[in-house]
């Protein structure tokens, strides 16, 4: 589907009455399962929902029978794990399935049969997003998922070190730095992290102490809403997109015109027209260019049988809220392949 066709659909006068009203009642399309709950909580607050006419959602959420027939376009917020699970369950396009937007770097894991129903997307900023002078910046918000599959220890350390170098060079070391990390069940239930279970979370704290001895302040997502963000920038530390690709905060901050550090370092102009989600950012949509990674799909054949076990698998490890342990290992292997072949 070309961008003009997508626009025609999402700006249609009936779009609000038909699609938005339908999606607004989550029970229309989502049968809330225990796994949904766990996965949502596991990724919270990065998995928070937001409105966009492209209907952003994690694909496993659309689980009511044939509910997709009421939707024309769907933007997958998933990372590798969610996408693999989805395409394993649906190797061919179900009848009436909406046009699917998937993150551009994952084109290699899309089954060939799906390519006619897929466009890829990338988040882009518009020319209205301002880069304020760095010396006017008062608050820096850092989003980190401490899970090693989303961010390796080395990568986090490198990024925090880079931040420290930039901040000291620009005289920003006295600014307030707020960190938002992924919650964990232990945190939700016991109001504290357990070091033996959340090594990575504690490692981030250690790194902060090492590089920013005085200025770290951790806040919860609901507190972000309370902060005056007018003189802020944000940094999203994201090496991989294993669990999620599209996080709530990047969307939220860009919607408010808050630039990310990346936009200070370089600005990539979109090659194509974008669909604006706010005055300051939007989604660049491109048609698949025929990249098909047979090596990724040769791995796929080994796990088809396991898909049957997924629904019944018992949650045994914290990381396995979405699938069986075997499938999880498979997704890790795919991530490695993509990293080696595409540098993702």
């Amino acid at each position: 589907m070309q961008i003009d066709e997508i626009k025609e659909k999402i700006y249609s006068p009936h779009f609000i009455d038909k699609e938005i009203s339908f999606l607004k009642r989550k029970e229309n399309w989502n049968e809330f399962t225990r796994r949904d709950y766990h996965f949502g909580e596991f990724l919270y607050p990065f998995s928070k929902t937001y409105f966009s006419p492209l209907n952003p959602m994690f694909l496993h959420e659309l689980n009511r029978d044939k509910a997709y027939k009421n939707i024309s376009v769907l933007l997958a917020r998933d990372g590798i794990l969610g996408l693999l699970k989805f395409f394993t369950r649906y190797p061919v396009i179900p009848e009436g399935f909406p046009h699917l937007l998937v993150p551009e770097p994952f084109l290699g894991i899309i089954p060939e049969d799906w390519l006619s129903n897929i466009s890829t997307y990338r988040l882009r900023v518009t020319n209205l997003l301002r880069r304020k002078p760095l010396d006017s910046i008062q608050n820096i918000f850092v989003f980190i998922d401490s899970d090693p599959l989303q961010n390796s220890e080395q990568y986090i350390e490198k990024k925090i070190m880079n931040l420290e170098q930039l901040f000291s060079r620009e005289g920003l070391l006295k600014r307030k730095v707020y960190t938002i990390t992924k919650y964990s069940f232990d945190y939700i239930f016991h109001d504290k992290y357990l070091e033996e279970k959340h090594y990575n979370y504690f490692n981030i704290l250690r790194l902060y102490k090492k590089y920013f001895p005085n200025i770290r302040e951790e806040i919860k997502e609901y507190e972000v809403e309370m902060k005056n963000k007018s003189n802020s920038l944000f940094v999203s530390i994201s090496e991989n997109a294993f669990y999620f690709n599209d996080d709530y905060f990047t969307h939220d901050f860009l919607s408010d015109g808050i630039p990310s550090l990346e936009h200070y370092l370089s600005t990539i102009k979109p090659k194509n027209e974008i669909i604006k989600l706010s005055p300051f950012h939007g989604v660049e949509i491109t048609e698949p260019q025929g990249i098909y990674n047979s090596r990724v799909h040769s791995l796929n054949t080994n796990v088809f049988k396991e898909i049957l076990e997924i629904e019944d698998s018992i949650i045994t490890k914290e990381n396995h809220y979405l699938c069986s342990p075997d499938f999880f290992d498979y997704a890790c292997a795919v991530q490695e392949v993509l990293k080696n072949t595409h540098g993702i």
Binding site: K7, Y11, P13, K24, Y50, F51, R130, M226, N228, S230
Partner: protein, 422 residues
């Protein structure tokens, strides 16, 4: 000279216009009174109850003769309760600079009603219609004083050279007639409704251009529980633009959320300011005040604080009637179209600017402030029934305090906000 304690949050408000308003009010105190007679006390929303008590003790120890609450957030009810104990029931005269959110905060004011009824209290309100609204909560009529919010005259004035430069910067042709809206873009500001009327007007005047500046917000109509998802206001704007013919699309531009300096440039560059807001907190209207101080003729709804601008000059402003419907408060579209087609917006810009700066500049407002403090404050008596019922509506139904059974606005809303209407 009497010592005044100025209580306000040293932390910026979430509301951009309130940050400007508070800064400007503080500067008028500094212009009107000697600095040694002003005591500044911080009261912000990050303070723990103990810190609030410490701040109250600090104020008490400094012995001011008058206590002025400058800011709207956080509400000082706890602070005032501490003062009442410290002063053993005899607090010096209190002055509140009320913002548009008095009604939303009525349950907090209700908590200190008894204290206020034995304390000389003055409510500074920014417009005559807001005074009418506040007086509905009062039996006594001498506790409200109209004291407009000041405009920074060093930033907002007409500059012909700036107009030329800014028109080039925004690629405006000399034939373009630029209509401008600035401010928050929310449902109740009726920007998209205006856009629809503007498109009809383009058929008659293809040289017209509509520029929009400000932040998109998704407030909906919270008074009746109509909430919007984040992003829907911007979506509605994009949707409205999408179906415009190409030649009309080029006549409408969103130009971003501007700084104060950029606002002055665009006010100077434009030809008509337009705001058709029917928002429930429109007690004053900072954007129209700034636009008029930059000499920009304006089309405004006859609603809330906007009406005062029209009362000052019905030549430089055109007022559009407001229709209070059961489900929404809208503006009279036929009247708007007549105003647009009449096209009488050609004035000497400096004359407009002078007329409004004479009233709203910080210097003028600071003179008015001195007069306000000459007024002998009296203890108020509140309309218990009204105050309690509105306060309970917010206490018990904060997410839809004025929702009628079956939807729409209830009678209580119409009774209260008829003071904002024509």
């Amino acid at each position: 000279m009497k010592k005044k304690a100025l209580v306000y949050s040293k932390k910026d408000s979430f509301w951009k216009s309130c940050v400007t308003i508070t800064e400007n009010i503080l500067s008028t105190y500094k212009m009107a009174f000697h600095s040694q007679d002003l005591i500044e006390i911080d009261l912000n929303d990050e303070m723990e109850p103990k810190q609030i008590y410490e701040q109250a003790k600090d104020l008490f120890s400094k012995g001011p003769d008058q206590i002025v609450f400058v800011d709207h957030h956080p509400h000082p009810w706890e602070f005032i309760k501490h003062l009442d104990r410290l002063y053993q029931g005899k607090i010096p005269p209190i002055y509140f600079h009320l913002y548009g959110d008095f009604v939303c905060l009525s349950n907090y004011y209700y908590k200190i009603k008894d204290i206020l009824e034995r304390t000389p209290t003055t409510f500074f309100v920014a417009s005559s219609k807001h005074a009418r609204l506040i007086n509905k909560f009062l039996e006594t009529k001498n506790n409200t004083l109209i004291h407009p919010f000041p405009v920074n005259e060093q930033l907002f004035f007409y500059d012909a050279k700036m107009r030329e430069e800014a028109r080039k910067e925004y690629n405006l042709l000399s034939t373009d007639k630029v209509f401008l809206y600035t401010g928050r873009i929310t449902y109740q500001k009726n920007v998209i409704s205006f856009l629809k009327s503007f498109v009809k007007y383009l058929h008659f005047n293809p040289h017209a251009k509509f520029l929009l500046a400000g932040n998109f917000h998704d407030m909906g109509i919270p008074y009746i529980g109509k909430y919007q998802e984040t992003g829907t206001t911007f979506y509605s704007w994009e949707q409205a633009l999408y179906f415009l013919p190409r030649e009309f699309k080029d006549r409408v531009s969103y130009i971003g959320d501007l700084t104060q300096e950029e606002l002055q440039r665009i006010y100077c560059a434009s030809d008509v300011f337009v705001s058709l807001s029917t928002f429930n907190d429109e007690d004053f209207g900072m954007s129209p005040a700034e636009a008029l101080c930059c000499g920009l003729p304006s089309i405004l709804t006859d609603w809330g604080g906007y009406s005062d601008y029209c009362n000052i000059s019905d030549q430089y402003t055109s007022r559009v009637k407001v229709e209070m419907g059961h489900d929404e408060i809208s503006f009279d579209k036929n009247e708007l179209m007549k105003i647009l087609l009449k096209d009488s917006f050609s004035f000497v810009r400096k004359d407009i600017s002078r007329s409004y700066l004479d009233i709203y500049s910080r210097e003028s407002v600071s003179k008015n402030l001195i007069k306000c403090f000459d007024h002998i404050p009296a203890t108020p008596r509140f309309n218990e029934q009204k105050f309690r019922s509105i306060s309970e509506a917010f206490e018990n139904h904060f997410d839809s305090p004025f929702k009628a059974k079956g939807g729409g606005f209830n009678q209580s809303y119409f009774e209260l906000y008829s003071s904002y209407a024509n």
